[in-house]
């Protein structure tokens, strides 16, 4: 059976959920072979095996942390040459997309970015993409070379499918370009203890209507009652009320949770681009004409300062 190369996104050996989803998709196309790089690479093996990786290629070197992107492209290319896969799948993070695209050009393949689903087809993998702020759904394929496809988070279920997951050390020689861009300092993002925005099943967001950094506590309290992640509109981020890493939308994170609750957000096209594919959408907005109401399954026309705390209290009471 053909092998499918899966690029692993992990933090010090802890595999992030989008990679486990990729393994589900990879199994539709062939036998997943995973590539894990950097500190803790070998520690990923158990989780990857549990989710279907037949082999886990690993390599660690200081270059992965010290220089931007290219060392990882060199390693992915080495894995590509070692495996001769039928397809290469990479998580659609900003970095993942850059790595995938550079590999594609190196090996003479087309690249598809931000797939939201993947099926085996007669002429190779068929990718679903969403276009124009998720108002269109397209299907596309790579017509030249080995399909290189990046896949968005929440595109497939995480399924247990135990496989061998044999760990193998990959030999990598870095290109001349590998050390071109030096990382001179790194500040890890402080953990809030809340779920990761792109992986969360529920996202509670606040916009300009929240009217101040101090008021985001109301949004956070609702999020905590539901075990949700906190998102923000660009207006709230630009005003300095919430960090940019929590922005939802075209230039922020794109989320696709089971439930999205928009509070004091009008629903501009660029915001919709990042949340329109959420399964259930709820909004609280005092303006009955706000475009967000065109999207909702349930909407409350009202002042968020009344509605949100009442909802939070009710959720907490019902939880007992």
């Amino acid at each position: 059976m053909a092998e499918v190369l899966v690029y692993v996104d992990h933090v010090d050996g802890a595999v992030r959920k989008p990679t486990l989803e990729l393994l589900t998709l990879a199994r539709r196309l062939g036998e997943p072979v995973a590539l894990a790089l950097g500190a803790g690479a070998a520690d990923t093996a158990a989780a990857l095996a549990e989710h279907g990786a037949t082999r886990v290629l690993t390599h660690d070197a200081a270059e992965y942390a010290d220089y931007l992107v290219v060392p990882k492209v060199d390693a992915l290319q080495a894995a590509y040459e070692a495996v001769s896969p039928a397809a290469v799948l990479v998580p659609s993070s900003a970095e993942g997309k850059e790595i995938a695209a550079r590999l594609a050009v190196r090996v003479g393949s087309g690249v598809i970015t931000d797939a939201t689903d993947l099926q085996a087809g007669e002429q190779g993998p068929v990718a679903t993409q969403s276009a124009f702020a998720a108002s269109f759904t397209t299907t596309s394929r790579v017509a030249k070379g080995t399909p290189v496809i990046t896949v968005k988070p929440n595109s497939a279920p995480v399924e247990s499918a135990p496989a061998a997951g044999t760990v193998e050390a990959l030999a990598v020689s870095f290109s001349e370009q590998a050390t071109g861009t030096k990382v001179t300092a790194r500040t890890p993002r402080a953990s809030t203890g809340r779920p990761d925005l792109t992986e969360a099943a529920i996202v509670v967001s606040g916009g300009r209507g929240v009217n101040g950094a101090e008021n985001f506590g109301i949004i956070e309290a609702l999020a905590d009652s539901l075990g949700a992640a906190v998102g923000a509109s660009r207006a709230a981020v630009d005003a300095g009320w919430y960090p940019h890493s929590n922005q939802v939308g075209q230039t922020g994170k794109s989320v696709s949770p089971q439930l999205y609750i928009a509070n004091g957000i009008s629903g501009a096209i660029q915001h919709r681009a990042g949340m329109q594919t959420s399964k259930t959408i709820v909004a609280v907005n005092k303006d009955a004409e706000a475009p967000i109401f065109d999207l909702v399954d349930y909407g409350v026309v009202g002042d968020l300062f009344d509605v949100v705390p009442q909802l939070t209290e009710e959720v907490n009471t019902r939880k007992g």
Partner: protein, 261 residues
């Protein structure tokens, strides 16, 4: 020594318009107004600021696109760029990411550069990978997705905010940079800028000027194929209630009914 900056700018359909696909499944450009991709305004802005700090700098704005794409170049020129290059050829219709990066890279080489500045992503294709591909093709460092950027003594430095960390990065010129919409608001063209732009040179190049063949680009040369495009069904109208004191409780009831609580 003069700092040669090339800014890549894309001409895209207005995101607030009714965007859709044409029969051949490429972007329909006839029904919706086009404009300079808003995210590329940030690239022009950062290029202008870098040029201001340099002893001597020249900014060329470059687009690959149809006739109307000149509008995007004019806008960038009216913001303050010095000259423009328009790569225009009927055979470019339907070019994919790999092809676009090939054409841009050839044009950048022909123009001559020390620094390439790109937007973080276009507002139509939104792949966000063209800058990295330009670095790959030009064989120079990529310093991409910067929310802060500066150039000093032949070194470009910036801040890249990733999913798990914020990084300070640097590379020697020549290099390819892309900037995010966190890098600083773009200036509005002044009346003087708009008038001056009319006199600035816009060169037109076609595929033969770049030594490219028709079958390397366009729909025919694309390495990816779109087989189908369907409009997402409109969401069925949801329930909307007015808060009369019980709005939060009603919402809780809905969420409980959906098993979220």
């Amino acid at each position: 020594m003069s700092l040669r900056i090339v800014v890549t700018v894309k001409y895209v359909p207005d995101a607030t318009g009714d965007r859709h696909f044409a029969e051949d499944l490429t972007v329909d450009r006839d029904d919706v107004d086009g404009l300079l991709s808003e995210l590329d305004e940030y690239a022009v802005e950062q290029a202008l600021q870098i040029a201001d700090e340099a002893d001597d700098a020249e900014i060329t704005v470059l687009t690959v696109g149809p006739e109307d794409a000149k509008d995007a170049l004019r806008k960038a020129l009216s913001m303050g760029a010095d000259k423009a290059v328009h790569v225009e050829d009927d055979d470019l219709h339907g070019t994919d990411i790999v092809g676009t990066s090939l054409v841009l890279a050839k044009a950048i080489e022909k123009a001559g550069f020390d620094l390439v500045v790109c937007g973080m992503a276009s507002t139509d294709g939104t792949a966000g990978v063209v800058p990295a591909l330009l670095a790959e093709r030009l064989g120079v460092p990529q310093v991409t997705l910067l929310s802060e950027v500066s150039v000093e003594d032949g070194v470009v430095k910036g801040r890249r905010d990733g999913d798990t960390a914020s990084e300070q990065v640097e590379a020697s010129l020549p290099a390819v940079v892309s900037v995010t919409d966190q890098s600083g608001e773009a200036r509005y063209p002044s009346f003087k800028g708009i008038m001056a732009a009319k006199k600035k040179p816009v060169e037109s190049w076609d595929l033969s000027d770049l030594g490219l063949e028709a079958d390397e680009v366009g729909l025919a040369g694309a390495w990816t194929v779109v087989d189908a495009a369907a409009e997402r069904p409109a969401r069925s109208a949801g329930t909307i209630v007015k808060d009369e004191g019980e709005g939060g409780k009603q919402l809780a009831e809905f969420l409980a009914g959906q098993k979220f609580i």
